[in-house]
């Protein structure tokens, strides 16, 4: 069975400081993992995805995430936060081998960026 846990419902950082959004997953298969971002009153946009290639994945807008199988984690990081990064972020696990569409969304982490 799959599950995904975003460890923080809210994260607050100052502009120019690093961002860390934490995600742990559980999967019976070799998972595909994603991070999506949702700005206010908008749909979700793909930030990055892990597909069993390189464990360090680079995405858009300077974000990256590292797949750590031993820790079952896929944390999202950015070296320096920008005001425009304020949004909600969703960690997603997907079963690439299942016959259906087994995609599980985390509950989301809202990122606040202070000037």
């Amino acid at each position: 069975a799959q599950s995904v846990t975003q460890l923080d419902s809210h994260v607050s950082v100052s502009e120019g400081t690093p961002v860390l959004l934490r995600c742990n997953y559980s999967s019976s298969y070799s998972p595909s993992l994603f991070w999506y971002v949702q700005h206010p009153n908008k749909g979700l946009q793909l930030l990055l995805k892990y597909t069993s290639a390189a464990t360090l994945v680079k995405g858009i807008n300077g974000f990256e995430a590292e797949f750590k199988k031993s820790e079952t984690s896929f944390h999202l990081t950015k070296p320096s936060a920008h005001m425009s990064d304020a949004a909600e972020y969703f960690c997603v696990v997907s079963d690439p081998d299942g016959g259906g569409f087994k995609t599980i969304f985390g509950a989301g982490t809202r990122l606040f960026v202070k000037a």
Binding site: S9, S32, F34, Y36, N41, K42, G43, L44, Q45, L46, K49, Y50, T51, S52, F90, S94, P96, G100, F101, T103, F105, G106, A107, G108
Partner: protein, 114 residues
């Protein structure tokens, strides 16, 4: 640019009304999805479709139905709206089954049922 368009951004309906939410994608994707988004619960899958006239129940199909008569259009129907269906509804599409299939989302339809 790829696009998923949800026709209504904001709707207010009364209990018992029939509600249609429309979604159109211009990417020629086979797969289309309807999700419901509620604070603290993330996104939950209502229904999905992998081909015209095909549909599959997701995790929370009760109280909803769907229609897919054309490849580009996927409609969500609330036969008799209830207050607990007040939510944000998100439509998404994706290409055929592949490793790490990404979802492309519309901007959402916020429904309030009074």
């Amino acid at each position: 640019d790829v696009k998923v368009t949800q026709s209504s951004r904001y709707l207010v309906k009364r209990t018992g009304e029939k509600v249609f939410l429309e979604c159109v994608q211009d990417m020629d994707h086979e797969n289309m999805f309807w999700y419901r988004q509620d604070p603290g619960l993330g996104l939950r899958l209502i229904y999905f479709s992998y081909d015209v006239k095909m549909k599959e129940k997701g995790d929370i199909p009760e109280g909803y139905s769907v229609s897919r008569e054309k490849k580009e259009r996927f409609s969500l129907i609330l036969e008799s709206a209830s207050t607990n269906q007040t939510s944000m509804y998100l439509c998404a599409s994706s290409p055929p089954r592949q490793l790490a299939r990404s979802l492309f989302f519309g901007e959402g339809s916020r429904l309030t049922v009074l």
